[in-house]
């Protein structure tokens, strides 16, 4: 167990090292940066700024400086916002998290319920409907659904606000404030849920159908247990087990923000911040955030693995 863990950590470090090289050089080799593109600056001022940000040093040296700082938790300084990247991320990340955690909750709720239901009613019209729904959800282009929803429900029907996190100029507090946010959350959460629910439902449906074919489910029925117990206790527990791994993989999505959705709904999260940074070529921010995502992915993979080991009695001891 420990040796396995150490090996995983070693590979993690190796992978992150590779990722950092990839990220850094992709940006470093790109002509033009924030300083270059800014039309207001004079040539001397540009050189001055470049020296200040260390942009005049050789590429390899810049990489090591960047890495050294990253190890100390410093992912650079956003040129656009004039703030450290980490504090910037910290300002925006919780908004993303709110959106992501809510939609994750609904996604799992729906996927598990549908999975169990279709196992109970195999080969029914319900099951057929689920199959089509799943494929539809898996095939949706995010930005299009987002736009369509805004057009239909916000612009035309005026049921929900079109974007943002709260009504502009609103000075509400307490419950009224919360309600305002919930209203703003409704559309983006719906879109996010719709996007991820397809894959997860399909996963649960397949898992449940597989599990209820197994011998121990037959045993549970032969014991005269109620069908509800057979499905919820015996079958679902086994179907959930491999799914625990997925929770780990959700990690980067939870904190990494839903880039496109946030952009479309103008949600003040890291995704939105990221897309902004693109338009002004704020490279330190882009690099910092991308590296942050890579770290989250690696940690997510590792925790997925560990979670599975904790959850499954068969591998727990080994």
């Amino acid at each position: 167990m420990t040796s396995y863990f150490l090996k995983r950590v070693f590979y993690m470090a190796l992978t992150l090292f590779g990722a950092s090289i990839l990220i850094f050089f992709l940006y470093a080799l790109t002509p033009g940066d924030f300083v270059d593109t800014s039309p207001k600056l004079t040539a001397e001022r540009k050189l001055e700024l470049k020296a200040m940000y260390g942009l005049d040093k050789p590429v390899v040296e810049r990489y090591f400086i960047w890495m050294k700082n990253a190890f100390q938790g410093d992912f650079g300084y956003s040129l656009q916002y004039q703030q450290p990247v980490m504090s910037l991320l910290n300002d925006y990340i919780w908004n993303s998290f709110l959106l992501a955690i809510t939609s994750t909750f609904f996604t799992w709720l729906i996927a598990i319920s549908i999975g169990v239901l279709s196992a109970a009613r195999q080969h029914s019209w319900f099951d057929a409907l689920v199959t089509i729904g799943v494929f539809a959800a898996m095939s949706l282009p995010v930005f299009f659904v987002g736009l369509l929803f805004i057009k239909l429900f916000a612009v035309d029907a005026k049921l929900f606000p079109a974007g943002g996190m709260m009504t502009i100029g609103s000075k509400e507090a307490g419950f009224a404030y919360a309600w305002d946010v919930v209203q703003h959350m409704f559309l983006p959460v719906t879109v996010l849920t719709l996007l991820s629910v397809g894959t997860l439902t399909r996963y649960f449906r397949t898992n449940m159908l597989e599990v209820i074919q197994q011998d121990f489910v037959r045993t549970a029925r032969a014991k005269g247990l109620k069908e509800k117990v057979v499905l919820h206790k015996h079958a679902l527990r086994n179907a959930l087990l491999p799914a625990i791994t997925l929770l780990g993989f959700e990690l980067p999505a939870l904190f990494g923000g839903a880039i496109i959705t946030e952009k479309i709904f103008n949600w003040p999260g890291v995704g939105q911040l990221y897309m902004q940074a693109f338009s002004v070529r704020d490279y330190p921010l882009l690099m910092g955030f991308t590296m942050f995502l890579a770290i989250l992915t690696v940690i997510g993979n590792l925790s997925a693995d560990l979670l599975y080991r904790v959850a499954d009695p068969r591998v727990r001891l080994k």
């Binding site: 420990t2 040796s3 150490l6 090996k7």
Partner: protein
């Protein structure tokens, strides 16, 4: 001595168990633990034992489908584990293997005719033009119809698939065949057909078999000499009549008395062994059988009994014999 086709000397196959901080080897699964026997030309040597006794691993290590840990395997005087890849490949046609599950040992996407003929081509044993003729001939010998040539494995029943497995093994005219539980997956009525096929082919082609099985009645029917394995080691080795009529090792006795006979009312005094076979990763000290032996003595717990010849051609590893 020179009539020995195969000689296995002190063969060991250990699998390392890794653990600890740096994945060091902290122990071994002793799948095959110091096994010695020889097989004479033209005989059928049976290897019996329960699951986990290491009989299949022995068979696979002999043909070098697995690399040995220690010991020696000599086939017609050639040290099989000392050959390089080319030499081993050249030796392959002379010793073949028949698998327990005929389905998984056939490539699902290769037609039977090609599966049977490919080795002849690959080894350049026959020109392309004669391969098909040879395939059809061997198929007929094994009870398969000519139109089966273009079929895929999934189109056959279990018994027919095992016929294909046998046909593939004898295609290159081998001298020696390891048959690993070849009839265990088959129904009784089909089992009899395959057992008879084994006997017929042996007679016609002077084949030598190493027949691995857990079914004592099948082994008794087919084999001339039999080795009984337990936890990776041979407990007893004897010619058929001696072994079945007068077993010496307590394990052999228990094994024989456990087999249910299709004779109702026949009351036998039966030795029902207690408990399970211990794990081969952690075998008991002394005699490996002592934890379940009804006649266990103190010495059995402390000393490993030698595998010794007690009378002509009879070997036993037991302190009490």
């Amino acid at each position: 001595m020179d009539s020995n086709l195969l000689e296995v000397r002190r063969l060991k196959k250990y699998y390392p168990i890794t653990g600890g901080l740096f994945g060091r080897t902290i122990g071994h699964v002793k799948a095959v633990d110091d096994v010695s026997f020889s097989i004479q030309k033209g005989e059928t040597f049976g290897l019996v034992g329960e699951s986990g006794s290491g009989k299949s691993t022995t068979g696979r290590t002999i043909l070098r489908l697995l690399e040995k840990t220690e010991g020696e395997v000599r086939f017609q005087g050639i040290d099989v584990h000392a050959l390089n890849r080319q030499e081993l490949r050249a030796l392959r046609p002379r010793m073949q293997y028949i698998f327990q599950d005929p389905y998984s040992s056939l490539n699902p996407r290769v037609r039977i005719g090609e599966a049977l003929g490919e080795a002849l081509l690959d080894h350049g044993l026959l020109p392309q033009t004669q391969v098909r003729e040879r395939v059809l001939e061997v198929m007929a010998l094994c009870g398969l119809a000519p139109y089966h040539v273009d079929r895929y494995p999934h189109e056959f029943s279990g018994g027919q698939r095992q016929r294909i497995g046998i046909a593939r093994a004898i295609m290159m005219n081998p001298d020696f065949i390891v048959a690993d539980e070849p009839v265990s997956a088959l129904d009784v009525s089909i089992q009899a057909q395959i057992i008879n096929l084994f006997a017929e082919l042996q007679e016609q082609r002077k084949l030598t078999y190493l027949f691995i099985s857990h079914d004592l009645s099948v082994v008794e029917h087919l084999c001339t000499r039999i080795g009984v394995m337990y936890l990776g080691s041979l407990m007893e080795l004897a010619p058929r009549d001696e072994l079945f009529l007068e077993p010496l090792h307590p394990y052999t006795k228990a094994l024989l008395s456990s087999v249910p006979l299709p004779i109702p009312k026949k009351k036998r005094e039966r030795i029902v062994l207690q408990g399970d076979m211990p794990s081969p990763a952690n075998p008991p000290a002394g005699c490996k059988f002592h934890t379940r032996c009804p006649y266990v003595k103190d010495i059995c717990r402390q000393e490993v009994p030698a595998f010794r010849e007690v009378s002509t051609d009879r070997f036993v590893a037991c302190h009490l014999v």
